[in-house]
Subunit: 300 residues, 2 copies
C-alpha cells in the first residue's frame, strides 16, 4: 500500500468517525433551559471544525474492546466539550491573547470576554452533566469520570496550563520542563480519552494498560508535531498565525531540540504507540495504527 | 426560647458543621501532583472564610435522612469548590470587576487574571474529581453528580450569570426576570445541595421532594436578603463595598420591590421552607429550621 493510499484509507475512516461526533454535538443544548446567547457562544466554538481527536480515540478504543457503542459515543463527545472549553479560556486576553482559532475570531473577539469565560465554564460543567447521564455500567462510568476529571483538572490540563503561563517568556531552555508541561497540558487528556474508551468497554487490566500507553505516546507525538507545525506550517491550513509560539517566548520542542531532533522524537513516540497495540486486529486497530502514523504526515 | 438564645443555639451548631467542612477542605491538593502556584491560588479563595452554606446543607440533609456521614462530607465539601470557582470568575474584570471579597483582595487582584481564571477552572474540575471518588452507592452518586452539574452549568448557575451579565446596567425593572436570574444563579445550587444530601442518603421520593422544596425556598430567601444587605448592610461585616449593585445598575429585589416588600417576600419564602420540613424531628431538623429562620436575622 502506498503512502497516499494509506492516507486516503485513514482520512475516510477519520471523516466517518468525525461525522458521528459532529452529529452528536450538533444535537446538544436544545432542551429550552439554556439562555440563547449562551447556546450561541458555546456552539460557536464547539462547532468550529475541530479535528475531534479526543472523542474519536475514546470511541474507537471503546469499539475495539467491545463496548456499547451508542453510549460510549455520548461519553466520548462530552470530552470534546472539555477540550473546547480549554481552548476558549486559553485564547483569553489574560492568557494567550489569541484573536483567531481555526480561521475564525476567537470566542472573546466574537462575544466579548465575559461571555467567553462563561461559555467555557458552561461547556466544562455540561460535559460532566452529559457524562453522568450515560447509560453505561455505573462502576465503570464513575471510574471514567474520575479519570477525565483528573486529566482535565489541576493534576492534568489546568496544571499544565498554569506551568505554561508561569514559564512563557522566561526563555528557559529546559527539555524536562517542556515535556512535563506538554504531558500535562495535552498528553493527559489524550491518554485519558483512550483509557476511558477501554474503561467503558469493561476491558480487563491488560487492555486498560495498552490503551493508556498508546494514548500517552500519541498525545506526546501530537504535541511535538504541533510545535513543529507552528514553525513550518501553513497559516491557511492551520487557521492561526505561524511563529506565534516563538514571538510569545513559549517553550517548544523545535526551540529546545531543533527541528530535526524534534521530528525524530515524534517518530520515536509514534513507533512506541504503534507497538503498544501490536496485538490487536480488525478495523479499529488498523485505524489506531493509521492515526498514530498519520501524526507524522499531518499539515494542520 | 428568646431570639438571642435561638441565635446562640444556631450559631454553635453552624460553627460545628462549618469546622467539619473547613477541616476537610484544608486537607486537599496535598498529593504532590499539582503545581504549587496553582495550589496557593485555589486555597487562597477556598479558605477565605466562606459561610459553607451549600456543603452544610448537603451534609445535614444527608445526616437527617440516615446517610453515611463521612463520605457525604466529602461530596458536600466538593460543592464548596464549585461555589468558590464561581466567585473567582464572577469577580473577574470582564464580569463584575470586584477588587475585594470577604475583606481580602479578589483572586485576580492577588494572583493576576490568568491565574484567577485557571484557579477557577481547577476548582470546578477538582470538584468532579472528588465527587466521582466518593465511597457511596454508585447509582446514587451518579444521580448526585448529575444534579450538581445540572445546577452548576448552563441550565443553572452559569446560565443565571449569563442573564445577569446581559441585563446588568440595562435598567430593566422586571420582577420575573430578576426571580429567574436569582433562581438560576444562586437558587439552583442551594436547592441541589439539599437534594444531593437526600439522594446520597438513599432517601425515598417523598424525602427527596421535601429536600428539594426546602432548598428552593431557602435559596431564594438567601438571595433576597443578600440584595437587602447590599443596600443596608455593614461593609466591615460583609467584607465588600455596600451599594455596589446599585452603582452597577444590577437588578435587585430592593430596586424593584422596595426594602419593605423585599423583606416581606423573604419572610414568606422562609416560612415556606420551614413548612416543607414540618414532619422531621431531631437535631438536624431543628438546625434546618433554625437556618431558614436565621436568614432573616443575618447581617453578613
Amino acid at each position: 500500500m502506498t503512502i497516499s493510499e494509506r492516507k486516503k484509507r485513514f482520512k475516510e475512516k477519520l471523516n466517518y468517525y468525525k461525522s458521528l461526533i459532529d452529529n452528536f454535538l450538533s444535537s446538544l443544548f436544545q432542551d429550552g433551559y439554556i439562555p440563547q446567547e449562551l447556546i450561541s457562544a458555546m456552539n460557536y466554538s464547539l462547532m468550529a471544525g475541530g479535528k475531534r481527536i479526543r472523542p474519536i480515540l475514546c470511541y474507537v478504543w471503546g469499539k475495539l474492546l467491545g463496548g456499547k457503542e451508542s453510549d460510549i459515543l455520548k461519553f466520548a463527545s462530552s470530552i470534546e466539550l472539555i477540550h473546547t472549553y480549554s481552548l476558549i479560556h486559553d485564547d483569553l486576553p489574560a492568557i494567550d491573547n489569541d484573536d483567531f482559532r481555526r480561521g475564525k475570531p476567537t470566542s472573546h473577539k466574537k462575544f466579548g470576554e465575559a461571555m467567553a469565560i462563561l461559555a467555557g465554564d458552561g461547556l466544562l460543567t455540561e460535559a460532566f452533566y452529559l457524562m453522568s447521564s450515560c447509560d453505561l455500567p455505573k462502576d465503570r462510568l464513575l471510574e471514567a469520570i474520575y479519570e477525565i476529571s483528573k486529566a482535565a483538572g489541576p493534576r492534568g490540563m489546568v496544571g499544565g496550563q498554569v506551568l505554561d503561563v508561569l514559564y512563557t517568556g522566561k526563555n528557559i531552555k529546559d527539555g524536562d520542563l517542556l515535556k512535563k508541561i506538554h504531558s500535562l497540558k495535552t498528553g493527559a487528556m489524550i491518554k485519558a480519552s483512550c483509557l476511558c474508551g477501554a474503561i467503558l468497554a469493561e476491558a480487563d487490566k491488560s487492555d486498560l494498560k495498552n490503551a493508556s500507553i498508546y494514548g500517552e505516546y500519541v498525545g506526546l507525538a501530537f504535541q511535538v508535531v504541533d510545535d513543529i507545525l507552528n514553525v513550518i506550517g501553513d497559516e491557511k491550513k492551520l487557521g492561526k498565525p505561524v511563529g506565534k509560539d516563538k514571538d510569545l517566548g513559549k517553550l517548544t520542542y523545535p526551540s529546545i531540540f531543533g527541528l530535526d531532533q524534534s521530528y525524530k522524537y515524534a517518530e520515536e513516540l509514534v513507533n512506541k504507540a504503534i507497538e503498544a497495540i501490536d496485538g490487536y486486529r480488525g478495523e479499529e486497530a488498523e485505524f489506531l495504527r493509521d492515526l498514530a502514523w498519520y501524526i507524522l504526515y499531518r499539515t494542520q
